[in-house]
């Protein structure tokens, strides 16, 4: 029996290398844990049938004396990342039956290290949402309270790591989709700098925001996955190189900026605020300097985020037409095929965003919405560049509210407002991490909360450094 509840990638690596257990034994433990827990959680859409074979291959490599950080480590993969020969659906009916014909670059990198893929995890359809309730295959439950959402869109990945039915996971983050579910489930989630991790083989939602990121139990584990998946890729022309952004050195002490106006805005849960103030106090005790910063354009972050989100979603999802792959519904002519396939294949939130994206891009409205949003994006970028002359990183809560009840939020706009702290990192392209920062009691249940740090471009190492200090991980 391996104690999965206290297991981390770091510990598993040591034990695998010391032959205390094999990769096959470890994977079998996880398959048993999945069997015991996932009927309640529904974190996975599919458990792969070749898990043991993958683990055997890892054991052979370990037997030959190989030691790579993720060799034999069981991971869960979000359902919008392609693995050759495996189904991938973005939790949408329109990709019913689709089997990936190539590996995403991140998957190729993980395979090279010998990681073991346990299965594909549930998500909001096409990564549109914030609760995993928009999945065409049913909601995932929060491991801390089965009546509540795990957050989203990478809700399945975060719930799996939190419940100990994966040792680590990949998610994707368009406006908080790695960080917010990580905070709701009490685990660590990183959105890397835009362009730091290749998006080749990730189904596109909002191409100018999307990044693949790790979800793990500790900062050190998240860092190990991040190190394995990052890098310039000729298959993704938006990937950056070592020299794209100026280097920042890690320091003994840091100056933390707090966008006070945003945190004092309406709709922030008092428990979240209290927890955030406690976190700042802890950081002050650790020797960090804390200062308020003013980012005038940040009040426009949600309108600007959603305008660009709708616009890019409507064009990216134009590729699903019932001709090349996935669902096909028959109409009276080719146009009828498109209209019916898309009408039946996309879920309600996806349809809403496609229509709104078409609206904000149509002539007559383009300047008022898309044009203004682009201007606001540039203004916000500039304000962050200036802020980073004075502070080393910016701290906020990850989410303004803890996990809500499944079915509680009927109004799409109220769901959008929960992204207030996370969208900025995607708008500006900054790396950001969510760290478990404690709990708030709601209706007799302890619900996890998260603390978010945003750093300058390509300064992930600072996030890891501060994260380890905050969580007391031995460095």
């Amino acid at each position: 029996m391996i104690d999965l509840s206290n297991l981390t990638i770091v510990i598993a690596r040591k034990k695998l290398d010391a032959r205390e257990f094999s990769a096959v034994e470890l994977s079998k433990e996880y398959l048993d844990a999945i069997k015991a827990k996932d009927a309640d959680l529904h974190a996975y859409l599919e458990i792969y049938d070749d898990v043991i074979a993958q683990a055997q291959a890892a054991d052979e490599r370990i037997g030959r004396g190989e030691s790579l950080p993720l060799l034999g480590i069981p991971l869960a993969i979000k359902d919008n990342i392609l693995i050759t020969g495996k189904r991938a659906s973005s939790a949408s009916k329109i990709l019913e039956g689709y089997v990936a014909t190539y590996d995403a670059t991140v998957i190729g990198k993980l395979k090279a290290q010998g990681a073991v893929f346990l299965g594909r995890t549930n998500m909001d359809e096409f990564a549109l949402g914030g609760s995993t309730e928009n999945s065409a295959y049913g909601s995932t439950k929060n491991p801390y309270d089965l009546d509540r959402v795990p957050g989203g869109t990478s809700g399945g990945s975060a719930a799996a790591v939190s419940a100990g039915i994966a040792l680590g996971a990949l998610g994707s983050d368009t406006g908080g989709s790695v960080r917010q579910p990580s905070s709701f489930c009490g685990v660590v989630g990183l959105k890397p700098t835009y362009g730091c991790v290749s998006r080749s083989g990730l189904m596109a939602a909002v191409s100018s925001f999307d990044q693949i990121g790790p979800i793990a139990k500790t900062v050190t584990d998240a860092e190990m996955i991040y190190e394995a998946i990052k890098g310039t890729d000729p298959l993704d022309s938006t990937t950056i190189t070592e020299t794209t952004h100026a280097k920042r050195e890690a320091k003994k002490s840091y100056v933390i900026g707090v966008p006070r106006k945003l945190i004092d805005a309406e709709g922030i849960d008092p428990g979240v605020k209290e927890n955030f103030d406690m976190a700042l106090q802890k950081l002050a005790e650790l020797g960090f300097e804390i200062t308020d910063i003013d980012l005038p354009s940040i009040e426009y972050c949600l309108p600007l985020y959603y305008i660009l989100n709708f616009a890019e979603v409507s064009s990216n999802l134009a590729r699903f037409d019932g001709v090349k792959y996935g669902l096909h519904a028959d109409g009276k002519d080719l146009l009828g095929d498109y209209v019916k396939t898309r009408g039946q294949g996309f879920g309600p939130e996806t349809r809403r965003r496609i229509l709104l994206g078409t609206y904000v891009l149509s002539s007559g409205y383009y300047d008022a919405y898309y044009g203004k949003a682009q201007a606001a994006r540039e203004a916000l970028k500039k304000e962050f560049t200036e802020a980073f002359d004075h502070v080393d990183f910016v701290a906020t809560p990850t989410s303004p509210i803890p996990a809500w009840k499944i079915g509680e939020k009927h109004d799409p706009l109220s769901m959008y407002l929960a992204d207030i702290f996370t969208v900025t990192a995607n708008i500006v392209g900054l790396p950001a991490i969510s760290l478990p920062s404690g709990f708030t009691e709601v209706e007799g249940k302890q619900l996890p909360l998260g603390l978010q740090f945003m750093a300058p471009h390509a300064a992930e190492h600072i996030l890891f450094d501060v994260g380890k200090k905050f969580l007391g991980e031995v460095i």
Partner: protein, 93 residues
């Protein structure tokens, strides 16, 4: 206020069937969402996007894989095919 006709037009442009019932709920949702994101018009910044930092992202124009290496895998995804072709309904009559 967004009208039924406008939603119908957007659905047509999006090549997506939308039922009458859905149009009704979409109208009020679209109004509240567009009302909210419309706050963007309050920003004074002008679109000063400037030149992006350009670099060459093109690869060498060389073969990256053997001929037909992926043909079967890709075509077998298609809902309807005939031999080496994807089959669709005729568009010229």
């Amino acid at each position: 206020m967004i009208t039924t006709e406008e939603i119908k037009k957007l659905a047509k442009l999006s090549r997506m069937e939308v039922s009458d019932e859905e149009i009704e709920s979409l109208k009020s949702q679209a109004d509240s969402i567009l009302g909210y994101v419309g706050k963007i018009q309050g920003i004074s910044a002008e679109a000063d996007i400037g030149l992006p930092s350009l670099r060459n992202v093109f690869r060498e124009d060389a073969a990256t894989h053997a001929a037909n290496e992926y043909t079967e895998a890709i075509l077998s995804e298609a809902p309807s095919r005939e031999g080496g072709y994807i089959k669709v309904k005729k568009i010229l009559s």
